[in-house]
């Protein structure tokens, strides 16, 4: 079955059956610097002291 997958399934050409001993470290794409640099563009957090009560009147299931 593993041979058949490797031969016939385009996305499965590297599949080698049981996970070990080989793993797939040799054929995995790494992060590239350009992509990683953009990871910083979005995201924020609230400090503990900034947490306030939200407006619960907008929560639909409460009404």
């Amino acid at each position: 079955m593993v041979i058949a997958i490797r031969k016939n399934v385009p996305a499965g050409k590297d599949y080698h059956g049981p996970p070990l001993p080989y793993g797939y470290i040799q054929s995995l794409e790494p992060w590239d610097e350009t992509t990683l640099a953009q990871a910083n563009d979005n995201g924020s957090y609230l400090e503990t002291d900034q947490v306030e009560r939200v407006d619960l009147s907008k929560v639909t299931w409460i009404q």
Binding site: V9, P10, Y22, L28, E29, T35, N42, G43, E47, V59
Partner: protein
């Protein structure tokens, strides 16, 4: 029972809670015993080298003890699919190893909305931050520091990130194109070798443990060191009752599962770490004179406010290779774009989008995570060729409300193989959880379609949820009326009885819990270390 032995600290359960406390105390010279009902699973018992590795997920390596039915398992009845493992390392021997932290807001959900049973934690993110760092160093964590959706964690040690592969890069591109937050995941997977542990080779089956030690679990990161330092770890030792005398825990009675004999241990301090189902089960099963409702349960809170997180599995297929069979579980990346409460959406709390790997060909043929099964017969080959390894799964991973009636009790009719009552779970999804999950599913497919998904399928809001996160059933709090533990994990009723595991968590956040359980274990362990004599003479549990 003619005799008993005496120790300083008795720990029940060898998962992250118990292992973490033992690690912190191991060099103190204290006499420490840990009782664990299961075995220490050895490397050759793992399925990773076998052709039938995927089939094992349905039998001996099933996540669900009711399916697996190994001798060390106990039944869990009710509305639940309980996922846990009973052995040295606890359920981490089945975990994916995704390793996020809570965010500061998670410690103040009582302030933020206080809905249903939600209360504030008695500690803050800042209180726990140094313990997160210490705990990470013990386990061995890979990842990248700098996520702007968290406070700075410049003292956290990190191995280099696991490789994303095509799959991780694809969802990162989707999030980036939509202007959403995303970040490479922290994982309890080492990418550099450590003592007696090999570095990850992108094997992709962490959900059945790791025979090489690349997955960071207490079986590799704690117990070899604990035992070397003199901690007495007794496997196949199932606790039947925690004993008490008046306002103090006195120890436990356990059954040696090899011989069937009962033994008593008396201890100055008892640390219960049997997980979010196992710990309330033990406390309730330990009802005795003076503690008729169970130990530590004078306020009736033990077992209540069970949380699992709300989940939907979202499958997307592409007309090009994604190669989900490659690379390590936990997760290559996540997005916390919708983590925070925005009441304009009509609900409180939020969710994470956690990218998962796939397994192998049996998984693809048998319906992946959403039951999208390949047809049998003539059409099978085409379907398989178009779907295998073109598949990307994202978890819609939401915070569920700690509802009081979601709870663990004792089953009046069912027992384990030693006659101890089974745990019974009642868990209903709250309207808020359902609204949140539906919104999350839409958002995930918005992302995968933006990068070319040609087919999608989802589970809807999973009920019962996959219960791999067992939280809240002996929660920490500020007030002895609405919680079971104080901020040091001491029970309000018995100051020398601690509960340190998933049940300790006051709220669930929208992240996997184990890094937080581990950090709490280091913190509780340090407290016991510094205050051992004081704790043994305390008559009441401190509120501050």
């Amino acid at each position: 029972m003619a005799s008993y032995e005496e120790v300083d600290v008795l720990i029940i359960g060898a998962g992250p809670g118990g292992a973490g406390v033992a690690y912190e105390l191991k060099d103190t010279g204290a006499k420490i015993v840990c009782l664990e009902q299961g075995p220490w699973v050895t490397a050759p018992e793992h399925p990773h080298y076998h052709d039938e590795w995927e089939i094992e997920k349905q039998r001996g390596w099933a996540y669900d003890p009711n399916v697996r039915q190994l001798p060390e398992d106990y039944p869990v009845t009710g509305t639940t699919t309980p996922y846990m493992m009973n052995n040295v390392g606890g359920s981490t021997v089945h975990y994916a190893g995704h390793w996020p932290r809570y965010k500061p807001v998670d410690f103040r959900k009582g302030t933020e909305h206080g809905l249903e049973g939600t209360i504030d934690w008695p500690i803050s993110y800042e209180d726990l931050a140094p313990f997160y760092d210490r705990n990470d160093a013990i386990y061995g964590i890979s990842g990248l520091i700098g996520d702007p959706s968290y406070p700075d964690r410049k003292n956290a040690q990190r191995d280099p990130m696991v490789l994303p592969g095509k799959l991780g890069l694809k969802y990162a591109k989707a999030s980036r194109d939509l202007g959403w937050h995303w970040w490479p995941s922290d994982n309890a997977v080492i990418t550099r070798p450590r003592e007696n542990r090999e570095a990850d080779v992108g094997m992709g089956n962490e959900l059945s443990g790791s025979p090489t030690g690349s997955l960071s679990t207490p079986a590799h990161a704690h117990w070899p060191y604990n035992v070397r330092a003199g901690v007495d770890l007794r496997t196949m030792a199932r606790v039947e009752t925690i004993t008490a005398d008046g306002g103090r825990a006195t120890g436990a009675v356990y059954i040696d599962r090899n011989t069937g004999n009962r033994h008593e241990i008396r201890a100055k301090i008892v640390v219960l770490a049997a997980n979010g189902i196992g710990s309330p089960r033990m406390l309730l099963a330990s009802a005795q004179k003076g503690h008729e409702n169970g130990l530590a349960n004078s306020n009736g809170m033990v077992g209540k406010h069970l949380m699992h997180h709300v989940f939907s599995f979202c499958d997307s297929w592409f007309d090009e290779p994604v190669e989900g069979f490659k690379g390590s579980f936990g997760s290559p990346m996540y997005s916390h774009e919708f983590y925070h409460t925005d009441v304009n959406r009509g609900f409180v709390n939020g969710f994470g989008m956690q990218v998962a790997r796939s397994f192998g060909p049996s998984y693809a043929a048998m319906g992946t995570h959403t039951g999208y099964t390949a047809p049998w017969g003539e059409k099978h080959r085409d379907f398989f060729a178009n779907h295998f390894a073109n598949h990307l799964m994202v978890f819609m991973f939401g915070e569920d409300l700690p509802v009081e009636t979601n709870r663990v009790t004792l089953d009046p009719d069912v027992t384990d193989s030693d006659g101890i009552p089974a745990a019974h779970v009642n868990y209903e999804l709250h309207e808020n959880d359902i609204a949140l999950a539906k919104y999350g599913i839409e958002k995930i497919f918005e992302a995968t379609r933006a990068v070319g998904a040609v087919e999608t399928n989802d589970t809807g809001v999973l009920y019962p949820p996959p219960a791999w996160h067992l939280m809240g059933t002996c929660r920490m709090g500020n007030d002895p009326q609405d919680s079971t533990l104080n901020k040091w994990c001491q029970t309000w009723d018995l100051p020398n009885l601690f509960v340190v595991d998933g049940s300790t968590l006051t709220t669930g956040g929208a992240v996997n819990p184990t890094s937080t359980i581990g950090a709490l274990a280091v913190r509780a362990g340090e407290y016991i270390k510094r205050n051992h004599d004081h704790i043994t003479s305390q008559r009441t549990t401190p509120t501050m």
